[in-house]
């Protein structure tokens, strides 16, 4: 076999190696699509395609070698999912919560803000979790109608501390479209491991699947397992708007949502 033949076969082998190695590049990303009603939906991404709807995702700070940072999961809406003249944005729907072994609780207060917080940034834009929901920002749909984006996630220590506490943190997000024919997604969660163990990370994800994503109590906006005054306050503060409090997803927080909340008043069943 002459050198040309050898080189050519090496090239073919190399292409084959690439194919096998890159097949799962997007696994773990958050797939983004719309359902029949035009609502944004989130999905597992498997083998380069959108899988079943999913609302719980995982991340590990330090996965690219920078301790308090990750750019994963990314977001993947595949080509033609959206019209390229529009944008997709996000909101942070809750304060950052931390795993306590039996559920999630607020991070310790370390000053005027809460304890640990997560900053999401993209180029020159950024927002940070706070004690109240935080409006995010939007990014353009790509010319091919896809929306493949990697935000930068940074975990910030509590005020007065040099480093965050090791732990499993919970970030609740929603996606919103600028396309008026589409509507805001349900909440979805990223369970983020900062210097904690894998077992707790997995237990926390299971807990979120069972207790939040399963949505046994859709009017319990603050996830304290009680439909109470704070949830009523959420409805009233968002009255006439959209997003949190819009239980029936009709694009408006209104009397129907209020009635639904009142009928579920008390401990979540």
């Amino acid at each position: 076999m002459n050198k040309s033949t050898t080189n050519f076969l090496s090239f073919i082998v190399l292409l084959g190696a690439f194919t096998s190695n890159i097949f799962g590049q997007h696994v773990g990303d958050i797939g983004v699509d719309t359902n029949a009603a035009g609502r944004l939906t989130t999905h597992i991404v498997a083998d380069g395609a959108l899988g079943e709807p999913r609302r719980v995702f995982s991340a590990r700070f330090g996965d690219t070698g920078v301790a308090n940072f990750t750019a994963n999961p990314g977001f993947d809406a595949f080509p033609s999912a959206f019209h390229p003249s529009f944008r997709i944005g996000f909101n942070m729907r809750s304060p950052l919560l931390v795993w306590n072994g039996n559920g999630f609780s607020q991070t310790d207060s370390g000053g005027p803000t809460l304890g640990e917080r997560v900053k999401m940034s993209f180029l020159t834009a950024n927002v940070t979790t706070a004690a109240v929901p935080v409006a995010g920002f939007s990014l353009a749909v790509q010319p091919d109608g896809g929306w493949h984006r990697h935000f930068s996630f940074s975990i910030l220590p509590a005020s007065g501390f040099a480093t965050p506490d090791a732990g499993i943190y919970l970030l609740e997000l929603e996606l919103w479209p600028t396309d008026p024919s589409l509507s805001t997604s349900e909440s979805f969660w990223i369970v983020m491991n900062y210097a904690s163990n894998t077992i707790d990370h997995e237990l926390a994800q299971i807990w979120v699947e069972d207790n939040l994503a399963a949505n046994p109590c859709p009017t319990d906006f603050d996830h304290d397992r009680i439909v109470g005054g704070s949830d009523l306050a959420t409805i009233l503060s968002n009255w006439g708007g959209s997003g949190t409090g819009d239980i029936d997803s009709n694009g408006l927080v209104d009397g129907v949502d209020l009635a639904t909340l009142l009928s579920a008043w008390g401990v979540c069943q």
């Binding site: 076999m1 002459n2 050198k3 040309s4 033949t5 080189n7 050519f8 076969l9 090239f11 190399l14 292409l15 190696a17 690439f18 194919t19 190695n21 890159i22 097949f23 799962g24 590049q25 997007h26 696994v27 773990g28 990303d29 380069g48 996965d63 690219t64 070698g65 920078v66 940072f69 750019a71 994963n72 990314g74 595949f78 080509p79 390229p84 993209f122 180029l123 020159t124 834009a125 920002f137 939007s138 990014l139 353009a140 790509q142 010319p143 091919d144 896809g146 493949h148 984006r149 990697h150 930068s152 940074s154």
Partner: protein, 233 residues
């Protein structure tokens, strides 16, 4: 003689350049079939890091020898002087790779790239950065599903917005486990025409990339150094 033997015997009569050109043509056709999301890719051959172009939507290598990558500042009008493309994938699981921005920014004159001192391009990831004024870079650990998107910013000097233009940034990739890659180049468009951007990319492929890739690009016009992604807006 086995099928494999026949196959190898037949292709032994073909020159490597012809075969490479055929493959490049095939890949080139595929790449121009539709606006394609083309990112960079870092891999290794013979102990040295290599650059390639990668379609991260379809998870396929488009050109295993690509060394010129196009991108646009201001694709998203909310970020007129920034871009998160090109991104980079890699199959070197477990390796820590450093992307080094080489000092020196050039701009397109219409016929060639010339040194340009009135702006600087910065590439940042995870809080570390390098720029075309002083060099430097950032490191990243390649994990499963690796898909790195650095943030790229162009800044004018003395706080003045950078002028529209086509800018050439030189980089290489280094690692403790491999020898440093050859230089590869990012050709950023800030507000100029698609045609000018394409001409600048063609020039970079023909004049910066050594043969045989550069030779084939010149002779055949094949897009071995992948053209940039289409403008987003």
């Amino acid at each position: 003689m086995t099928f494999t033997g026949v196959f190898m015997n037949r292709i032994s009569h073909c020159s490597l350049h012809i075969m490479t050109t055929v493959i490049a043509s095939f890949l080139g056709c595929a790449s121009f079939a539709s606006p394609q999301h083309v990112d960079g890719y870092i891999w290794a051959q013979g102990g040295q890091l290599q650059s390639a172009s990668w379609d991260d939507t379809t998870d396929t290598i488009v050109d295993s020898t690509a060394r010129v990558f196009g991108a646009d500042f201001g694709e998203d009008p909310f970020f007129p002087f920034a871009s998160e493309d090109p991104g980079f994938g890699s199959n070197l699981l477990g390796s820590t790779i450093t992307l080094n921005v080489l000092a020196g920014l050039s701009s397109w004159s219409g016929s060639e790239f010339v040194s340009f001192a009135n702006a600087s391009v910065l590439a940042e990831f995870g809080g570390a950065a390098g720029n075309t004024t002083s060099g430097g870079g950032f490191s990243f650990l390649v994990g499963e599903g690796f898909d790195l998107h650095p943030s790229y910013f162009i800044e004018g000097m003395s706080g003045i917005d950078p002028a529209n233009g086509i800018y050439l940034v030189s980089l290489n990739a280094s690692s403790s486990s491999y020898s440093t890659s050859n230089t590869f180049w990012l050709v950023f468009n800030l507000g100029e025409s698609e045609a000018d951007h394409d001409a600048a990319i063609d020039w970079a492929n023909a004049n910066l990339v050594p043969t045989p890739a550069g030779l084939i690009a010149m002779l055949g016009g094949f897009p071995l150094g992948l053209r940039r992604r289409r403008r987003r807006n």
